[in-house]
């Protein structure tokens, strides 16, 4: 008899998902430890779930952050733009204006709230699913779109697939298509910050699936050995294309708890709770800046959209699974909270959505006027030979001549 065990998700297409018991026995009322706490003293945080907004949209517990009304409303606004931007770009991909797109629907808080809690000097080593960082830091939508359209104004000069943004000025590292590579790089950036005696920290994001890469473990080891001032985020959206997080050895444990073995505190949080992301980021950044090293943060969330425009999730998971996700939607939750707080209203929200829809639409029209992948308005062809090195080699010069440009 074949005794090899192969994990399987609870629900497949056609099943009725039920997550009611998912959090039974999980501590959701965690203390806020001192920033110099030892990893072993934070076991509960690695296995529990930090939340600030409860299911009724009320604040509770020790992690309630000190955050201004302006910051709250900016966070809401940035999440709303991110979602409208994603929807628009996906539609434009569908009609053939670009080759590829990838949304972050349901995960907006993870990028936007963490960016809000970081300082502008802090460096972000994101995966391809944190476009919210760029939006929160004010990267122009037009620039983002020009890149996705691979047009004459593309910051990557047509060399990269859409969504592989780069923005050194905004302290946002060039996105790699090879999973996980940014993880140890962020640690190295943080080591350099410490070396130079500076206060900037690095933050990096990878998916649940990507914790299986060599890079994750290499990054963890270096972060621990050198007490690098880094925030190490695992976005556990339950899926890695068609593979559920059990294929990243997530069953019966948490990704946050992986920190403990490396001597790094791990905190799992409700990734659909803007305030929880904000609060834990503040704590981890303060810890890093004070010289106590890295924190591994697991953002527990759900990938509400398809993996990308090349993917059809109805082939491997129940079509409406996200509707059963017990932690709701990050935008709805923050919106309900600010309304309850009396600083926002349905009417204002409607107006905001309308305004952003127009902003995104106008930016897109403008971007399209610079060309699309199919229209042929691209950077000069000769640029394909540039930036291999600072100076082209003689071989590259010869090849360029051979191409006749």
């Amino acid at each position: 008899m074949n005794k090899l065990k192969i994990p399987a998700p609870k629900y497949r297409p056609g099943d009725a998902p039920n997550f009611e018991n998912m959090m039974v026995g999980v501590n959701q009322n965690l203390s806020k430890p001192n920033i110099d706490s030892a990893p072993l003293d934070m076991m509960d945080h690695a296995l529990g779930l930090v939340r600030v907004l409860n299911d009724e949209g009320e604040l509770y517990g020790e992690w309630i952050p000190d955050i201004s009304d302006d910051e709250l409303l900016k966070g809401l606004s940035d999440m709303v733009i991110t979602r409208i931007y994603d929807d628009r770009m996906q539609v434009m991909q569908r009609v053939g204006k670009m080759s590829f797109y990838l949304k972050c629907t349901g995960e907006e808080a993870i990028a936007v709230a963490q960016t809000a809690a970081l300082e502008d000097q802090d460096m972000c080593f994101a995966s391809y699913r944190q476009q919210g960082i760029l939006i929160a830091r004010g990267f122009p939508l037009l620039t983002m779109m020009n890149h996705c359209l691979s047009n004459s104004q593309d910051i990557c000069k047509g060399r990269q697939l859409p969504i592989m943004y780069t923005w050194s000025e905004g302290n946002y590292f060039t996105i790699s298509g090879n999973l996980g590579t940014q993880f140890p790089q962020a640690v190295g950036w943080a080591m350099a910050s410490a070396y130079k005696g500076e206060s900037a920290v690095a933050s990096t994001w990878i998916g649940d699936g990507t914790t299986a890469t060599n890079d994750f473990h290499q990054g963890m080891t270096f972060a621990s050995v050198y007490k690098a001032p880094a925030l190490l985020n695992v976005v556990n959206n339950q899926w890695a294309i068609s593979s559920f997080q059990g294929f990243a050895a997530g069953e019966g444990t948490t990704f946050a708890s992986r920190g403990i073995g490396y001597g790094i505190p791990g905190i799992r949080l409700d990734g659909n709770d803007f305030l929880a992301v904000y609060a834990v980021t503040k704590w981890a950044a303060e810890r890093a800046r004070a010289g106590h090293g890295s924190t591994l943060i697991e953002h527990f969330t759900y990938r509400a959209a398809a993996h990308s425009t090349s993917d059809d999730p109805s082939k491997y998971r129940p079509e409406n699974e996200q509707e059963f996700w017990p932690f709701g939607d990050p935008i709805d939750r923050l919106k309900a909270y600010v309304i309850k707080k009396g600083i926002w209203s349905e009417k204002k929200h409607e107006a905001l959505v309308k305004e952003h829809t127009k902003t995104v639409f106008d930016a897109y029209k403008k971007a399209e006027s610079y060309g699309t992948l199919s229209s042929g308005d691209r950077p000069e062809v000769s640029t394909i030979f540039e930036d291999i090195f600072e100076q082209p080699t003689n071989t590259l010069r010869r090849q360029r001549q051979e191409l006749g440009i």
């Binding site: 990269q160 697939l161 699936g209 890469t213 060599n214 294929f247």
Partner: protein, 337 residues
Amino acid sequence: MTQMNMIQAINSAHENLLERDKSVVVFGEDAGYFGGVFNATEGLQEKFGKQRCFDTPISEGGIIGAAIGMAVNGLKPLVEIQFSDYIYPGFDQIVSEAARIRYRSAADFTVPLTIRTPCGGGIRGGQTHSQSPEAIFTHVSGLKTIMVSNPYDAKGLLIAAVEDPDPVIFFEPKRLYNGPFSGDPAAPSQSWENHEFGDVPEKYYSLPLGKARVVKEGADLSIITYGTMVHVSLAAAEKSGLDVEVIDLRTLSPIDLETITASVQKTGRCLVVHEATFTGGYGGEILSLIQENCFYNLEAPIRRVAGWDIPYPHAFEWEYFPGLDRVVRAINIVMEG
């Protein structure tokens, strides 16, 4: 015989292998339940059970390392690396381990392992879904390297790779999955239907490793090529109006020197074509072998057509791709030379 595209042929090879040999086991990222991002393993888990075809963590080093361990313990792993652009985290396990275990242990341990991986561009995949890294592997002793160009060969050679007692890297040009490609992106896309090599037996068969195929006979000039460029070379041969011989290497290592030298000794002119970058590409090796074996038969310098020495640029795919015009131009230069 049945009409199959290259994915169907590869899928059929898996099916035959899994049916015939209990020790064959198939795995890779998204390769189990979902059947792979290109559907190469579709339906296998359902048919053979989840222990014979399963998903893996996103760890190419883990996939190959575990496959080596399984091979050493009597299984015949047939694994998928989702894109050859993502094979590098498994590089150490391939180069330092799989390729050397037989030698370093004086055949005390051996590694019957097959690694399948889609390669090549032409699908707007950008620089991380388009590379052709074959020369990195042909450089390693102890590895066999294959790149197929049609459904019939894909099935027969994949079965041969799994039957082989040593590690084999099996490259599948993804641009050819649905049909041959003449190198002109503006031309209507072709399918394998009614193509000579789209006719694939459903039953188990294998083709010999290390044997090239003369795809088209000719007297004026030999094109030595493989993968997607076989079809581009055929189209260029036709466009040139000359009597060009086109050789599809199929197995890059071990290389079929006899077929190459017989051809070049006959024609006296030779062009080597591949999609991978030029410098250090496998073309250099082919050229050296021809120089060593056919020098006195040559009537003109041998030329190479290859990708430029740059990453595959997303919006400039067709400027990178060594397409029809570049191959025709090179044919003419070699003819004049």
